[in-house]
Symmetry: C2
Subunit: 313 residues, 2 copies
């Protein structure tokens, strides 16, 4: 896998040609899972160094989304946001110019549900299929091909993409026929994920202030009614004093912002989400935006956080 010669389709890969646009930590994991499944995989990223890494893993890097789209029947787009997703499809040299009619665009960035619904209509008007398919599980599950996919779109599109989802997902939830339904469920998941990270930080901060041992707190509460997936996953970063970003503070500045914007358009109040968003905004304003999202605990003043033991080695 690590030799410098890209494995091209003619190198023995068979099955549906697929592609990934956006070769960041999530997209690269998805691309490698597709390669592991033996499919011919092409890819594109605006950063040349990401394209080179992808070729090291055996993929075929292209010079534009349009070039990616020319040869393949299904593309997964795993870029950062709605704007980048739209650019990859409808920008100059985008997928819409090159993909064959009846091909499938799988849009997996976290985007507002209303955007996903509108984009799906435009893709359909261009003679292509869209599956609105945001993912959950993080970088590790992406690399393992074990993502949870919250997907909606036409049944015919799901049929065509069966080998693709087989390669990248542990769970594929089909949430309806219309793009937007997948992004709605993802939005609710992000609401909870963000609030739970901020809650874990607030709880650990108060515990430290009140004199409790942080490691003991983590163990007891992880086995009690106060536990959450995020508490169990993120508090170890705080205990290790290691804020190397697996998912950054800025991601939740963005994602809780999307949740609040979408709710406002529905004239719907989210007092808890709004409070959590302010804590993430505060952390970003204080210069921690690029750190791991567990760094929101740095917004709680006057406590001594566990030190990174790497500094002592």
């Amino acid at each position: 896998m690590n030799d410098k010669t890209p494995m091209r389709p003619e190198d023995g890969r068979t099955g549906m040609p697929v592609a990934v646009i956006g070769l960041g930590s999530m997209g690269m994991g998805v691309a490698r899972s597709l390669l592991r499944a033996g499919l011919p995989v092409s890819g594109y990223d605006v950063r040349p160094e990401a394209c080179r890494r992808f070729e090291d893993f055996g993929g075929v890097a292209a010079s534009s989304p349009g070039e990616v789209g020319r040869g393949c029947r299904a593309v997964v787009i795993l870029v950062v946001n709605a704007e980048q997703t739209e650019e990859a499809i409808f920008g100059a040299g985008g997928l819409a110019e090159s993909m064959e009619p009846g091909s499938v665009i799988v849009t997996s960035a976290t985007v507002p549900p209303a955007f996903a619904a509108g984009l799906g209509q435009r893709i359909e008007s261009a003679g292509l299929y869209n599956i609105d398919a945001p993912v959950s599980g993080g970088v590790k599950k992406a690399a393992e091909g074990q993502l949870t996919v919250m997907a909606s779109g036409p049944a015919a599109a799901f049929e065509r993409c069966a080998p693709l989802f087989e390669a990248i997902a542990a769970k594929l939830y089909r949430l309806g026929e219309r793009p937007g339904q997948g992004s709605t469920v993802k939005m609710i998941n992000q609401l909870l994920a963000g609030v739970h990270i901020a809650a874990a930080a607030e709880a650990m901060a108060l515990g430290i202030k009140a004199g409790a041992d942080p490691a003991t707190l983590y163990e007891v509460i992880g086995n009690s009614a106060g536990s959450s997936w995020m508490f169990q996953n993120r508090v170890p970063h705080i205990l290790a004093g290691d804020y190397t970003p697996l998912s950054a503070v800025n991601i939740f500045v963005k994602d809780l912002g999307l949740v609040l914007d979408s709710a406002r358009k529905l004239t719907f109040p989210l007092p808890l989400t709004a409070a959590a968003h302010q804590i993430f905004l505060g952390a970003a304003a204080a210069g921690h935006g690029g750190e791991d999202d567990s760094a929101v605990i740095k917004m709680y003043p006057g406590i001594e956080l566990p030190k990174d033991r790497k500094d002592e080695r």
Copy 2:
């Protein structure tokens, strides 16, 4: 167990005589677990009907905390709050007047850590031991003898209470020698439990507003990074439209209030907890204080919640 003749110690029960003060849903569960373990168990509650139920289960009801304390070596106090705990011990006809020196008072109501620390000192000054031992797990785990106990106190007291904790707890965490340390961990657990219930309600409310199917949301998010113990436990009440209180809104009005009061004494800000407390206060103000705590979802306006199907039968 259900015949009307109380099983008195001379009826064959052996081992350390123990007692429970406060025979509500939690205390009765603990008392029954102690009876199941074959220990001689006496009990007291201010409500005569609770005492009668306890006798139906085979316990020996007393007419005051002092009378309970006379014959036993360890008492579990599972009343509603700090005031009732103090009254049971130091009020007229209280435990402090009657318990033999070296006996153990296990205080299990959720109370402020500073109160627990001060109370422990007073109990020690009275020649008795105190274990600060709040519990987690709810009514069902109490009835099954499977509680999580977050306990602190002198080693000698834990030795004496070994058969008691064996009977009531699945997990006994020993969190230090000083009363107050157990209540600190419990306080952090309640912070998270309360915030997570409000977050589950806010998330389900937005999902319903945005047109998602509530049952599908529950399934997908229960298997995703947005999940929490409370999401998994409380959302089924919302899906069933059944707000029969297992733990009431008023409990979290009280418990998050305790958390905020304790943090304020430490000059420590809890923005997320404060927002969650306001939602519980709003639900209580709207007349839902006696309903299940999942009824906080009723504070989110303009949505149609799942109906209680019992009404249709």
